[in-house]
Symmetry: C2
Subunit: 307 residues, 2 copies
């Protein structure tokens, strides 16, 4: 699956993934009204508004980008109807030819991890049919529980041609509390990177990168550069650009000499662009056009970093 992702990045000339992380405050009035007319004042209406919001943004940006990353937390906030909107979003994005990274950050012991793996990147036999319950191409995974929490995912990566991004150095301010602790001169996140490398050594694609990839925050550029140098087969999902504070300059070190090796996520900066002064002239009615403009600007910005 990493080969397919990199191919799409090359084709679109944009190492950009749009985070489809809707929140109620982002939804324009006309979409909220349309949803309420259908479903009244319910969780179903809110979930419908999330889907319609995503759909419009995907319609207006899918020719520019290789991938999207819906953050499942936003959908779980709306309970079961929200999770249904998450699934509809995945299916819609696949219809539009996008690679879908499910940002689920799951992590659990062996047998339980296996069930997450089946649900999110695997399949299940139902009668004569092989059903893919959520059907994302990649998911994000938490490494805190060690190898047996990862193996069920790597097994399915092999059988179903999928990929995973394991949290390594996350973009948030307090990520260092645990991840930067030093163990014999080596920080925890680097120990994790070594595990990720090991977990992925049988899954290296023809592109030279492994289906077992890592999350490394744009907000920690020195660490990104260091990890890039030390782990040449490790592809990076890079959150923290834009709203979380990192710019293109910080990103150069995350990429290899061919400008490959990572994909940069932006969520709020793209999907809520119309709320940003810079794109406010589009207005709430044309929120998705504002998102398109923000993607084009991001693409230009990244070209400086990645070349």
């Amino acid at each position: 699956m990493i080969d397919k992702l990199i191919e799409k990045i090359d084709e679109k000339k944009a190492p950009i993934v749009v985070g489809l992380d809707p929140q109620i405050s982002m939804i324009p009035d006309h979409i909220r009204k349309e949803s309420e007319e259908k479903f009244g004042s319910t969780l179903e209406a809110l979930a419908e508004s999330f889907f319609l919001f995503n759909k419009e943004i995907v319609n207006k940006t899918c020719d520019l980008i290789p991938a999207v990353k819906p953050q499942i937390a936003m959908y779980e906030a709306l309970g079961v109807p929200g999770v249904a909107a998450y699934k509809r979003t995945i299916d819609y994005c696949h219809d539009k030819g996008l690679v879908v990274i499910g940002d689920i950050k799951r992590g659990d012991i062996g047998s339980t991890a296996g069930q997450y793996a089946v649900g999110h990147i695997g399949s299940i036999q139902v009668g004569n049919e092989e059903i893919k319950p959520f059907d994302t191409d990649f998911v994000t995974i938490n490494p805190y529980m060690g190898s047996d929490a990862i193996k069920p995912f790597t097994d399915i990566c092999k059988t179903h041609d999928r990929g995973i991004f394991v949290l390594c150095k996350t973009s948030n301010p307090s990520s260092g509390e645990l991840q930067d602790m030093n163990i014999e001169g080596i920080p925890v996140y680097e120990h994790v990177a070594r595990l990720i490398e090991k977990w992925g050594e049988e899954l290296i694609g023809s592109c030279g990168y492994s289906d077992v990839a890592a999350v490394v925050g744009a907000t920690y550029p020195e660490m990104g550069e260091e990890l890039r140098a030390k782990f040449p087969h490790m592809f990076f999902l890079i959150p923290g650009y834009g709203a979380q504070g990192a710019g293109a300059r910080e990103l150069a070190g995350f990429f290899d000499k061919n400008g490959r090796g990572g994909i940069v996520n932006s969520s709020r900066g793209i999907i809520a662009a119309y709320k940003n002064e810079k794109y406010a002239s589009y207005g709430a009615k044309n929120f998705a056009e504002a998102s398109r403009a923000a993607v084009l600007d991001m693409k230009k910005d990244l070209e400086q970093a990645v070349g």
Copy 2:
């Protein structure tokens, strides 16, 4: 919420939580048939069978136990219909007066963690109504991302009287890969325990324990004993009893001198008891009676340890 949980444990004289972790292979034929007659050969039918299976076990054990712990991975394996069965299970258990621990092991950066918190233990304003999307009493949380991944949960613990169990030392064989690494003579899991103590210091109930509690595996009894001694306000959720290998003897050190301070989880050992030779005479038709017998045996077994 920790006060309520301890009160219920005292009332039932059983520090036992039943893990409602159904898998397809556990579902007796008559329940599978009943579900297929309603929904055909679909994910919906499998999800229905999970709910009916849980319902019967809850009916037959709810007078004996204080709490249940549905593991959401098992439900996510069935996609959206599975998640709906998770929610139905929670509601049914609440109707039966049980405390519900949602085993979700979520962990994400601040704003995203906030959305998980809203969905699972919080509430959302929809029109004039305050809706609780999943409505569990406790959830399990992953600490890898540090404080800002936890704060949104502790905030909601305060406003909504809820609790969380943060992963500290997990029960699986490879948990040590990260959790046992030594940092200046102190293992990672103890650093995490210190963080958990800090996160929970404003949430100590009249029982002396905090709403911010810890997951410590029964499979590591020395560590449990050590943590019990060092962190007197920290309540433990203790997985790994039974199917994962730990017995009652291993558990004594997890409890305080009053026999409080922890709750022991058993999943397969209870819900799939009828598949165990010891309870096989009940047969698949009476699977829930077998679960009841297994709970009674577990209760007796724990009495030796906890007194």
